[in-house]
């Protein structure tokens, strides 16, 4: 008797909620299309294409000379690798500031291996990646067990790792002639006009992106960044995942060091200093929330290409040095402000809808 009365009230109950939580009735294809078009990644890509278009109109050589086309893709390769690793770390609500020093260390290591040992190229690359992974593991263990914010830990290891390169290399530098020609050629080699190093970097981005989207482990990284306390309540192994994220970031920074050596040929003890901030900037501009939990490695990759490209385009447009830096800064700030604004507005709307 009572239960039938409840049943009668049901439609009214549902109606009251229809506005807030009604399932969208788009077809799957249409929904996928809308999601892509409305995503942050799409808007950054649009900005990137716009900048390339403007530069090309101003100076057609920017896109259409063979060298420029190659540089457009080749220059971001190092940053792409760093941004992919950084993105994974930031998604877990951490940050890895040591990647610049890891890059410097492994780039110098790469040169030394060619000079001091007869290791084949493939082995050298593997050693570089492995060395980066070990340095990343140190970061991860310190963050996982130290109960100190990653910002502080990796700021410390930034100086420590750089100190190691400085005392090891001193005023020595690696020169292109120290390394095998086949290795140096990697830096300029292209397949169908696309540089090999860019293909490598994009492969990494695709693999990381695929893992983040389709693996349980990848989704757990998002969950940890979204609410670390809830992640513990869900029974997720937060520490193991965070350590793994740092290992990945270190390994990719190691790979970036090898790529750096191949691309530029000469490596000094200061190689890659300051690039960690570019990596963080690329990730943030790419729509990854600095407090973790959202964003994609695709966005971070586009962000990396955008930052590098802007730095090359602004001189073409005749914009003075100082303003170039300021413009990049403005880009970062507006990306963060946009994030905050959108989430605040949404929250406010929903609270008001509930309250009335």
């Amino acid at each position: 008797m009572i239960d039938t009365a409840k049943q009668d009230q049901q439609p009214e109950t549902e109606h009251a909620h229809a506005e807030l939580v009604a399932p969208s009735e788009l077809s799957p294809g249409r929904r996928a299309f809308e999601t892509v078009v409305r995503s942050r990644e799409a808007s950054i890509l649009a900005v990137l294409l716009l900048i390339i278009a403007v530069a090309t109109i101003k100076s057609p050589n920017f896109l259409f000379s063979a060298n420029s086309w190659r540089d457009l893709l080749l220059t971001p390769s190092v940053l792409l690798l760093l941004a992919a690793g950084q993105c994974v770390v930031i998604i877990t609500r951490n940050v890895d500031l040591s990647v610049g020093s890891v890059l410097g260390l492994t780039a110098y290591l790469t040169g030394r291996l060619f000079i001091d040992t007869g290791l084949p190229i493939v082995a050298v690359i593997l050693v570089g990646v492995l060395a980066g992974a070990v340095l990343g593991l140190v970061n991860g263990l310190l963050v996982g067990f130290g109960k100190v914010p990653a910002l502080v830990i990796t700021l410390g290891t930034l100086y420590i790792y750089r100190g190691i390169v400085l005392s090891w290399a001193g005023s020595n530098r690696i020169n292109p002639s120290d390394m095998p020609d086949a290795f140096g050629n990697l830096g300029t080699k292209t397949i169908l006009t696309i540089p090999v190093l860019f293909i490598l970097a994009m492969l990494v981005v695709v693999v990381v992106g695929y893992y983040l989207y389709t693996a349980r482990g990848g989704r757990e990284l998002y969950a940890i960044g979204s609410d670390p306390d809830a992640a513990v309540l869900y029974g997720l192994n937060v520490r193991r995942r965070v350590i793994a994220a740092f290992v990945l970031s270190g390994a990719l920074a190691g790979l970036a060091g090898v790529v750096f050596a191949a691309r530029y040929g000469s490596v000094s003890s200061s190689a890659g200093s300051g690039i960690e901030l570019q990596a963080v900037a690329a990730v943030v501009v790419g729509g990854v929330a600095i407090f973790g939990g959202s964003g994609t490695v695709w966005g971070a990759a586009i962000g990396a290409i955008l930052l590098v490209t802007i730095n090359r385009v602004l001189p073409i447009l005749g914009i003075p040095d100082f303003w170039q830096q300021a413009l990049v800064g403005a880009l970062i700030l507006s990306a963060i402000a946009l994030d905050r604004l959108l989430s605040l507005r949404r929250e406010r709307q929903l609270i008001e809808a509930r309250d009335s």
């Binding site: 409840k6 549902e14 909620h17 229809a18 989207y213 389709t214 998002y222 979204s226 939990g293």
Partner: protein
Amino acid sequence: MTENPTRPASLELRGVVKSFGAVQALRSGSLRVEPGSIHALVGENGAGKSTLVKVVAGVYRRDGGEFLLDGSSVDFSSTAESKAAGVAVIYQEPTLFPDLSVTENIFMGRQILGSGRRINRSAMYAEAASLFAGLGVHIDPRRQALGLSIADQQIIEIAKAISLDARVLIMDEPTAALSGVEVERLFTVARRLRDEGRALVFISHRFDEVFELCDTVTVMRDGSYVDTLRVADTDVDKLVALMVGREVGDLFPKTPATVGGPVLEVRNLGSTGVFHDVSFDVRAGEIVSLAGLVGAGRSEIARAVFGVDGYDTGSVHLLGKAVPPRNPRAAIRAGMAFIPEDRRKQGLVIDASVSRNVAGVIRGRLSRFGVLTQRAENEASAPWASRLEVKTNALDMNATTMSGGNQQKVVIAKWLATEPRLLVIDEPTRGIDVGTKAEVHRLLSELAGQGMAILMISSELPEVLGMADRILVVSEGRLTADIDRDDATPENVMLAATRTREVRA
């Protein structure tokens, strides 16, 4: 729903004990919940309900007593274990991952995998949709959890519990933040789960809900089991009597004070979604208590009055002058002092010395040419600390090493140094031992005697009844009663605190 004595209860607790240091939060917790039943658990704030729930959920480990699930003894050391055993707890404020879709929230950590151990999203969406359909609710499985109402977040938690096939569902004050229709929806879902043979525990302060939804009710008081009754055989008066069940003695000596003119005048104060249409006065020499249940909006009102939080409508006047909103500095200058609930977090620079803490709020007055010397700080704070008998060997001692009672006195000393006309104090004796409690009460009473207006927020009914000249009862963000000291009884305060929105009556 007929009880079968040979069948084991879904959940049974007998004489469960749990202590935190010297504080015994649960003396003897007992509860027996049958399958296919909705069991209410009621009691005052601090009666031990939440502790009991956390023992069942595996958040705490019991110190003693028996804990049986379906007749077999269990001992959980983590929430993961209790989940695996079929216990699900839905908290008042669910913990979801705001950035992820509701489907991911339901399946996090045990996603449906397709070929190559890749997550099969479409299978998960379909499963979530069928869960929601089974619950009779409309939530887009693809939408983000961010921005969901509390009601919908609870539905997500319930969907999660069902997908885990939980046999015991505990809902800890699930309706506190819900509107009328949302409560009805939750009840429909709860009845559906009951009819499937699951056991539900429902914690609520709203008696009308207990009578509408539940078949059995267990009353707790002071960390102990009091009684279990069939809902059909009892009424509100009987439950209130069981919940309160103790005499308010002379534990709290309130010395009479001459009441002067109004010091604080609050008019039509409102903040969207938090509290509405709050108007009251506090006069000189008067202790006014904001009473009510946890989460009713008492602290929020106090924070808005002091200017820590903003408000949308209304005004605050101190001694006839308007106090600007969202400006604690102006409130201090106007003569207000605010001692927040969590003093470790909000009221005390915990790693600083006593004298620095006391002098902190009057730094501006103490500094000479912008330089603040330790000597000046010590000189200014010494009289206050000695007056409050803060037992620290030296004023240089760090606040972090002191007992809760002494910390509280340091916080009070800190604010008295500003010579306030109005003292707002939130939970003045929380976490303080009995002896020091009386000292804090004596101090408050003395301050009122000197003509200070005091607005006190307390969850402890005896403290409210013992200390306050006037009791303002807050329920769901609204003032529901204004009771004079002489007319106040535990029953009428409790009834006003559990009074629900008129709309739902």
